[in-house]
């Protein structure tokens, strides 16, 4: 803990704060969603007749983007590519928080390394659609472009460290492990690494107040998570019982 640089202290605090904002912010949303009632059955039909059927529908929606696939193959392709690669990249990054490294993370390493290129391709495709298709240009807000730019910048800075300007990943790992064990270790002060971590922190902070809320949102979407059982079961919300 002696001779800790200002950079290390700044980033350690930043990442703690960002993680706290992310976790508490998303948790708060989840609590709001859980507490708000669903007073009427509004599943988009045809809908499953059992909880298990709903589970399958949610799995198809969350992992395969079923509805998007029905709609537009290009957006599905770019979106699916981005999200799948993101999952691989995040899983690969777990190696910075594990000692020893778990089997799954070890196995994923070679794929995870190149998945960032897939992320970039996916993001590029989504950006191109936003810029080139008149309908999507019309609905795009500054925040929609900035979110893509932010993600691209995170990917590019990560790519740069993987393939061009290597950073001392052993030191990065000891910094990361130190964070999880509340025993801070020095962070290498390579500019690209600092940019990378700074942008990730920013992403975590804006997550709970941005459209990234689609991540918890999908699990609470009544048109997707409800069983088609309205004729068999009543679903009276507390407010409907009291006041109407």
């Amino acid at each position: 803990m002696l001779s800790m640089s200002a950079v290390t202290i700044f980033y350690a605090v930043l990442l703690y704060v960002a993680s706290a904002v992310f976790v508490l912010g998303v948790l708060r949303r989840v609590v709001i969603y859980t507490r708000s009632p669903a007073p009427l059955r509004i599943a988009t039909m045809p809908a499953p007749l059992s909880r298990f059927g709903v589970l399958l529908r949610m799995v198809r929606e969350v992992f395969l983007f079923e509805s998007l696939f029905k709609s537009t193959k290009w957006t599905w392709l770019f979106g699916f590519l981005f999200h799948t690669c993101l999952a691989l990249v995040i899983t690969r990054h777990l190696r910075y928080f594990q000692e020893p490294i778990s089997l799954v993370v070890g196995l994923i390493q070679p794929f995870g390394k190149y998945a960032s290129l897939g992320m970039l391709a996916g993001l590029g495709g989504l950006m191109a659609r936003r810029l080139l298709v008149d309908r999507i240009r019309y609905i795009s807000l500054p925040s929609d472009y900035l979110m893509l730019v932010l993600l691209m910048a995170i990917v590019l800075s990560g790519l740069a460290m993987t393939f061009c300007v290597h950073t001392d990943i052993v030191a990065v790992k000891s910094f990361a492990l130190g964070l999880t064990r509340f025993s801070w270790q020095p962070l290498p002060s390579d500019p690209i690494l600092l940019v990378h971590l700074g942008l990730v922190a920013l992403l975590l902070i804006v997550f709970p107040i941005s459209k990234l809320l689609h991540v918890p949102g999908i699990f609470f979407s009544p048109t997707r998570n409800q069983v088609d059982d309205a004729r068999e079961r009543r679903h009276v919300a507390p407010w409907a019982k009291e006041s109407v």
Binding site: P37, L40, I42, T72, K211, S221
Partner: protein, 499 residues
């Protein structure tokens, strides 16, 4: 014929995506309530209140706490664009505010401004806007260019349903005294008198007696069309349009013949003489419940064992998806039958059991296609399997005729297009919206008319029937093409051979 441009049908593919034409439908809107009673009857202020901004924002907060759908849907949209080419009103008009996401954004921009950190801190960045008179005008215009058909919800990766948003928006507008004349006036009549037209019992009785005479004159068989008969087995709840409008009444004639041949006693009710429930269109739980409650009370008073619902789209949504919650439990009815039951489920069961004698050749002059009504398709079910709402009406049709073809697969089943007149838009002051909104369906119809000589468009919705009767001529089709499924049953059924 029209004072506005009618889209041209004929060139396939089925649904060409239009180029964005901003504000092409701006200012097109239905008449506002001008008689305060039409609002106050429903518990809303008679006219726009002075502090409407404050009241509207407060109401929005209240609804966010009452409906998880609204909260989740306003938060979750990522502007992926999946829904942008799915709305029939966008396809027919090119106005980008008729793209589902842009329609939602009219409400979302205000939600962000008053209820989110990002919208309070940097409104420009996230498209947050103060609730100004301009925004309210846009709400009134574009939330009445949505028929709440839920087509967009099929394609949204988060299941965002614009119908929920437009219902909430209309409820907020009603709560500040900005009501739509057509819907609110009709709903008031339904709640006070029992049907959308405000017809009292004697008028209905007179109509039904006339109908009995007509059917007997045409068939030689005394088919009964009973009203308020205590102790009947079945209470039939059907849209009041079935009692007087063309071609709806031919469907009612068909229901009566089915009951007659099956030997099942039934009755209509003067108290619950309406299947439609416009309370849904304005998102008003309280008014929807009031309108539905008349039906539960009538069923108890008449002592029936079953409730069957006639051909009507949103009525079936309310009945299937909401009745049990709103006005249940139905423990006073016969538990062997689903409550409620759709007339197509009822007729289909009879057909399967061989209880009806249907002569398909009676409809040999017809090549039939089927328009899946939006609310039946995407907001309800028939039978015991998911998708029964697509299968069962088609099976009934196929049992009544020799020539049936489906329209393009991208325009039927869950992908079906709204007729263009649903959700409280079936009013003459919205003709441009209705005609343009019908475009995708007309395009698909043109294809089967040209290629397969279709001459009968079957539907199971009173709104679809009224809408197509009016709109078909704009697209150079014969208005008589549209008819009910039970009109086909009525033609094919051989009275006097089974009973």
């Amino acid at each position: 014929m029209a004072s506005f441009d009618v889209p041209v049908v004929g060139d396939y593919p089925i649904c060409p995506t239009p180029v964005v034409q901003p504000d092409s439908m701006k200012g097109i809107k239905p008449f506002e309530v001008n008689n305060p009673m039409h609002n106050t009857d429903l518990g809303f202020p008679g006219a726009l209140v002075e502090n409407w901004q404050e009241v509207a924002v407060k109401k929005m907060g209240e609804l966010l706490g009452k409906y998880r759908s609204l909260q989740v849907f306003l938060d979750s949209c990522v502007k992926c664009g999946s829904c942008t080419d799915k709305c029939h009103y966008f396809i027919g008009t090119g106005d980008p505010k008729n793209m589902p996401v842009a329609r939602q954004d009219l409400l979302r921009q205000v939600y962000r401004r008053y209820f989110t950190i990002a919208g309070k801190l940097c409104p420009k960045l996230v498209g947050a806007k103060d609730l100004t008179k301009d925004v309210l005008d846009d709400w009134y215009s574009y939330y009445h260019q949505c028929s709440q058909c839920r087509r967009c919800s099929v394609y949204c990766p988060y299941g965002i349903d614009t119908a929920e948003i437009s219902m909430a928006a209309r409820e907020i507008m009603d709560s500040v005294g900005l009501g739509q004349k057509y819907t609110n006036e009709i709903l008031g009549k339904n709640i006070k008198i029992g049907n959308n037209l405000g017809m009292k019992g004697p008028v209905i009785l007179n109509t039904l007696e006339g109908l009995e005479e007509d059917v007997e004159a045409a068939t030689g068989v005394a088919v009964r069309y009973p009203l308020d008969v205590k102790g009947a087995e079945v209470l039939l709840v059907t849209p009041s349009a079935d009692l007087f409008a063309e071609p709806h009444i031919d469907g009612l004639i068909g229901y009566g013949k089915v009951f007659h041949q099956a030997g099942i006693s039934w009755t209509l009710s003067s108290k619950a003489s309406e299947g439609a429930n416009f309370g849904m269109f304005i998102g008003s739980y309280a008014n929807m419940k009031k309108a539905a409650m008349r039906i539960q009370e009538a069923a108890r008073e008449l002592g029936v064992k079953r409730i069957i619902v006639g051909e009507c789209g949103h009525a079936w949504r309310v009945a299937y998806s909401f009745w049990n919650t709103l006005i249940g439990p139905f423990d006073f009815l016969d538990p062997r039958y689903p409550v409620p039951q759709h007339i197509c489920e009822f007729t289909y069961d009879l057909i399967k059991r061989g209880a009806l004698n249907l002569d398909k050749s009676a409809n040999d002059n017809r090549v039939v296609t089927f328009h899946d009504s939006c609310n039946v398709s995407r907001a309800s079910r028939m039978g015991t399997m998911p998708g029964g709402q697509f299968f069962i009406p088609r099976e009934v049709i196929k049992a009544t005729c020799n020539h049936f073809v489906d329209m393009d697969p991208a325009t039927i089943h869950e992908h079906t297009f709204c007729c263009g007149g649903g959700g409280g838009l079936l009013t003459d002051d919205l003709m441009p919206v209705r005609v343009k909104g019908a475009y995708p369906r007309m395009q698909a119809l043109r294809q089967v008319v040209d290629n397969q000589k279709v001459n009968y468009l079957a539907a199971i919705c009173a709104i679809c029937k009224s809408q197509f009767t009016k709109v078909l001529p704009y697209y150079k089709f014969d208005r008589d093409m549209i008819g009910g499924v039970h009109q086909l049953v009525s033609n094919a059924i051989q009275l006097g051979t089974k009973e």
